[in-house]
Symmetry: C2
Subunit: 334 residues, 2 copies
DNA sequence: AAGTGAACTGCACATACGTGCAAGATGAAC
DNA sequence: GTTCATCTTGCACGTATGTGCAGTTCACTT
């Protein structure tokens, strides 16, 4: 009779019933406690549990007649489906990131189906998203790491694998790690390793994703992204990126503001998927916040990497304005 | 810039933003009030508004691994998709009805799409449902009245049309009234009227519904359904129903416990759709509560009228038990 | 059998929330 | 411009809800 551990089943059953009574019949928690023969505080906790585990699914749907203006402008200008997260302008960058990640995490379930494959990068943004995922009952789903995370001081497994683990847990999915350094010292090593069958297997998965999830790295902002810290790149590398007008990276692949990657030497040593591979993924979701990332977003859009963009309101506004200023960005996806 | 009345648009926009902040970012109403520059109580009202108008969509999903036992049993036994509404056993029939109707109303949106046609009967149950509908932004939807509502003391327009109006409002739909008596005195009048083109139009719509919604009438319960009151039927009629072993009606068409209708004289004079017409509707949703309706449900299931059943827990239990007792009911739909 | 840690419970308190009410705003009618 | 009806707002209050804590249960060790 039990599907799971015997009392887990009871807990879920109670949570389900409490949710029906609370959200579908508008009873108070007090009344529900009485019906279930428990205390009101337990009901409160049952309901929290139900929300966290996705038993209760709350979504906010902007009516088609009245889409967010910024979202419409971004779609028209850049051909990207935007989800603008309302955030007051004076918010700190940390809060901004957290709020965008929270919103994105709650909508991510929409993209995940049974038998689908989800590629995830790692980084501060994706990590924040991973902390707020709402579980969804799907099966035969796979989570694939998009790029290596090893650096000079650690194999990077703990940090990146923690992110992946959360995704795997939320979607009841099998996790495919990608245990390679973020950047190789020698491009030949990368090429050699890429020919290994164990790597080929992961690489093949990366080429047939249904959904890809990533942030964008921003090299020269006041608060540079994780990747640009000295644990990953030499000072020389950083200089060369600067000289080559790099404005950002997606999964450790660098690009310029026009989306081009040609001649960026570091990309021969990075572990992320080449853009023409990534672009084969039907849904490519980018989560990003903060004005400092503007140029990075612009570049990623120009490179045609993004189909769905989760972004805070202020940055969205800058994005739209930047197009009015310069006219760049039209030659993009879709 | 405005899509609707200028301030209605603002209200909706604020409600939308408040909903995102509250449900997607977990801010308190106080914080939202601050961001929107209004009072906390206004935010509370905005959120109520958002829920009532379907801007916020809350659903409770029972995980596939753990469906309600009664629902599974009903599906296996009767071939009907059941939605069992949890209600404590000591609840009064009035509350029971209200709670089932509330739950059903909130799920009804699932069945309604753009360009679809929804047929609704009238009665205490459907009326209760109509009072709790959650609007849904669809277009080119039609609501069609299934059976006439005129009786000896009124044309019945006010009561039935109020129900229809609520459906029309919730789904932004055009409403097709059916201005005829519930029962004709003379079957020939009915036949004559049915040949009128104005009636033909409605009848044609009834034959091509996407969804039908109805309760079941119960004639001989302690609290008989509306239809069986003297305003609709003569004492003679009631006696004849009793003699012919009628256990219930769907949209003023009567049936026996085995689902048969042959030889029930009153059906020649009723205004509802014949069962073989009704059965052509792909989705046929029945909402019902209370043990007194058990035989009526059994008959409606046996007649193959129901694809989706919303029912209170106690009655669901009786329904399952009744099958174990008698073995009737297997020869049903699907 | 006693020990141990993790999970769960109800209590009590602090907070967050819903709502009647009166004042103010808005808009249509004259 | 005035009047009146209607809708909206913020306040204040009472109720509903979230959560730290201490006590308990329960499964699993030792």
């Amino acid at each position: 009779m039990a599907t799971d551990h015997p009392d887990l089943t009871t807990r879920t059953r109670d949570a389900l019933r409490a949710s029906q009574l609370y959200y579908l019949q508008d009873l108070t928690m007090e009344a529900i406690a009485h019906e279930l023969g428990t205390s009101r505080s337990s009901v409160s906790r049952l309901l929290s549990h139900a929300r966290e585990t996705g038993l209760v699914d709350i979504r906010v749907r902007s009516p088609r007649e009245m889409p967010n203006i910024l979202e419409r402008q971004i779609l028209e200008t850049f051909g990207v489906t935007a989800h603008v997260v309302p955030v007051p302008d004076h918010t700190s960058d940390v809060d901004r990131l957290e709020r965008v990640a929270l919103s994105a995490a709650r909508m991510l379930g929409e993209y995940v189906d049974s038998n689908s494959t989800l590629g995830v990068a790692w980084g501060a943004t994706v990590s924040a998203v991973s902390r707020h995922l709402i579980p969804r009952a799907v099966h035969d789903t796979q989570i694939v790491q998009l790029n290596g995370a090893g650096n000079l001081t650690s194999t990077g497994i703990v940090y990146a694998s923690e992110i992946l683990r959360r995704f795997g847990e939320a979607y009841n999915a099998q996790v495919q790690q990608f245990p390679v350094p973020a950047f190789f010292d020698d491009p030949l090593t990368k090429q050699a390793l890429w020919r290994e069958r164990s790597m080929q297997r992961v690489l093949a998965l990366q080429e047939h994703l249904d959904v890809a999830l990533f942030g964008v790295g921003s090299p020269f902002a006041e608060v540079p992204s994780h990747v640009y810290s000295s644990n990953f790149l030499d000072p020389d590398d950083v200089v060369s990126l600067q000289e080559q007008n790099v404005v950002g990276d997606v999964a450790t692949v660098f690009y310029r503001i026009d989306g081009s990657t040609d001649g960026i030497s570091l990309n021969d040593r990075g572990s992320g998927p080449a853009f023409d591979v990534l672009r084969r993924t039907p849904r490519r979701i980018c989560v990003v916040s903060g004005a400092a990332r503007l140029a990075s977003i612009r570049g990623a859009i120009a490179a045609g990497l993004i189909t769905d963009l989760y972004v805070d309101e202020g940055t969205a506004r800058l994005l739209v304005a930047s197009h009015d200023d310069t006219g760049i960005g039209r030659a993009s996806v879709r």
